[in-house]
């Protein structure tokens, strides 16, 4: 099962950008915290603590903003600029998360924008890469 090559129509972005971004962000941080707690996400939280992140889903017009402290992730309500920003279309983000596509490949092909603290970006990328999904119920969704 591969992610189809689609870009969401602009109308979606213009509607979604007017909706509050908190519910999807809340879902994301809850999932992240669960994964950390269960030891699936081998996060060295000291490396992430105090940092603000933004995942910008370009074609959906959604910005997910969250932050980390020594123990957990939380929704970032502040207006401060993030330390690290990823921006891409939904299909490419999905490919990256499902390991169909390597983030470097997307970056080389200009489908992924990485801005801010590059070392932090590398930590996050390597963190996602090191998750052994075969230990989790999500295994069957992953490409590799």
């Amino acid at each position: 099962m591969r992610v189809p090559d689609i870009t969401l129509p602009p109308i979606i972005a213009s509607i979604a950008s007017k909706l509050p971004a908190t519910p999807p962000t809340l879902a994301l941080v809850t999932a992240l915290n669960q994964l950390v707690k269960r030891g699936v996400l081998p996060a060295e939280m000291e490396l992430l603590a105090g940092k603000r992140f933004e995942v910008d889903v370009l074609d959906a017009g959604i910005k997910l903003r969250f932050a980390a402290d020594e123990a957990r992730f939380s929704v970032d309500q502040s207006t401060q600029a993030p330390d690290l920003r990823f921006a891409a279309n939904l299909a490419d983000l999905a490919r990256m998360m499902l390991r169909e596509e390597d983030p470097d490949t997307l970056f080389f092909n200009r489908k992924l924008v990485i801005e801010g603290d590059t070392e932090l970006g590398l930590i996050v990328k390597n963190l996602l890469d090191s998750v052994d999904w075969s230990d989790t119920p999500l295994a069957r969704f992953m490409a590799v």
Binding site: D102, F108, T118, E119, L122, D129, S130, V131, S134, V144
Partner: protein, 335 residues
């Protein structure tokens, strides 16, 4: 059928290691989470636990694990490098890949049964150097730098019984391998000293409209317009203004790809083909391992009749840095 070279794939994490094995790698190479290896990137590489799990996974499937300890031991305290060798031996890796002669000496004395591979970082380009390493330390394989033509590789092979490994795919590090200091010039850190070229903490990408600027320690390395393929901001691959012209003054950002030459590589008796990219994700490892596995097996079966399948070229092309591929020095006319 001729003896096929081993396919040696990179593993920056446990999932990448498993993926490489599942997609046909004969061996994987990995490093520890410190400056003892040339991909010392934040969050990358193995600790004791993941290394143990990875080695078990590989050995269960009859594949090998090589541990790269391929930076040069720095300063007065080289114990960290020696400890890495001890750790590799304790973990039960199939070989260590070393660059530092002092470390080879240590490894051969302390762990006489540990197989030694000479890293590309050692810059051994002739059979005399390779044979010397064999005589002194019992080195059993040497990885040749990407500066030799295929004829020259064949020449080395004919004059040594040490196994020869060559690079088959990945980003190119174009300068005399193991001796490049460009990254130190901009950042004070380079592969042989800190295990990383152009460390991420010095890299900034700035988005300005559709243009991305890549800076290394504030030095502008390159700018990419809309849809122009991007690369890593290493100095060697930057565009610089030289006498009024802005261009790739040192080297174009290309990737090495030896698909076309596989029959010759097999024919001259290369023992192993290495894939670059421990910093890349499992998705990359999967696609490269699968493609090269198929291509090497096909080349071994068909030899002279072999032709590269467009699908392989497309799969590798997509992954490449710079969107241009080259046979590198292998097919240069120089002698």
């Amino acid at each position: 059928m001729p003896k096929l070279p081993e396919l040696v794939c990179p593993a920056g994490s446990l999932p990448a290691l498993k993926t490489a094995i599942d997609h046909g790698a004969d061996a994987v190479y990995m490093g520890l989470k410190n400056e003892t290896n040339a991909r010392n990137f934040a969050g990358l590489n193995f600790d004791e636990k993941s290394a143990t799990a990875g080695i078990r996974y590989a050995h269960d499937k009859g594949r090998k694990v090589l541990m790269a300890i391929n930076t040069f031991a720095q300063g007065v305290d080289i114990s960290r490098w020696q400890r890495a060798v001890d750790q590799a031996a304790d973990l039960g890796v199939d070989a260590v890949i070393l660059a530092d002669l002092g470390l080879m000496d240590y490894a051969s004395r302390r762990h006489p049964n540990l197989r030694l591979h000479m890293s590309v970082q050692s810059s051994a380009t002739n059979y005399e150097a390779v044979n010397l390493a064999r005589d002194l330390f019992g080195v059993q394989r040497a990885v040749l730098p990407r500066v030799l033509t295929l004829d020259q590789v064949g020449h080395v092979i004919r004059h040594t019984d040490v196994e020869i490994e060559v690079f088959g795919f990945g980003s190119l590090c174009v300068m005399v391998e193991g001796r490049c200091l460009l990254s130190s010039y901009a950042t004070g850190e380079s592969p042989n000293t800190h295990g990383v070229c152009s460390p991420a903490k010095f890299v900034r990408w700035e988005q300005n409209g559709n243009t991305t600027s890549a800076r290394l320690n504030d030095i502008l390395i390159d700018q990419y317009g809309q849809n122009e393929p991007a690369g890593y901001p290493t100095l060697c691959k930057g565009r610089f203004e030289v006498q009024g012209d802005t261009y790739y003054a040192l080297e174009e950002p290309t990737s090495l790809n030896v698909l076309e030459m596989l029959p010759q590589i097999i024919d001259i008796g290369v023992s192993a083909i290495k894939v670059e990219g421990r910093q890349r994700s499992p998705a990359y490892v999967a696609q490269v391992a699968k493609t090269l596995r198929e291509a090497i097996d096909t080349a071994g079966r068909e030899m002279q009749r072999f032709s590269v399948k467009p699908a392989w070229q497309a799969a590798l092309g997509k992954l490449a840095e710079g969107q241009q591929q080259t046979l590198g020095a292998y097919n240069r006319p120089w002698k």
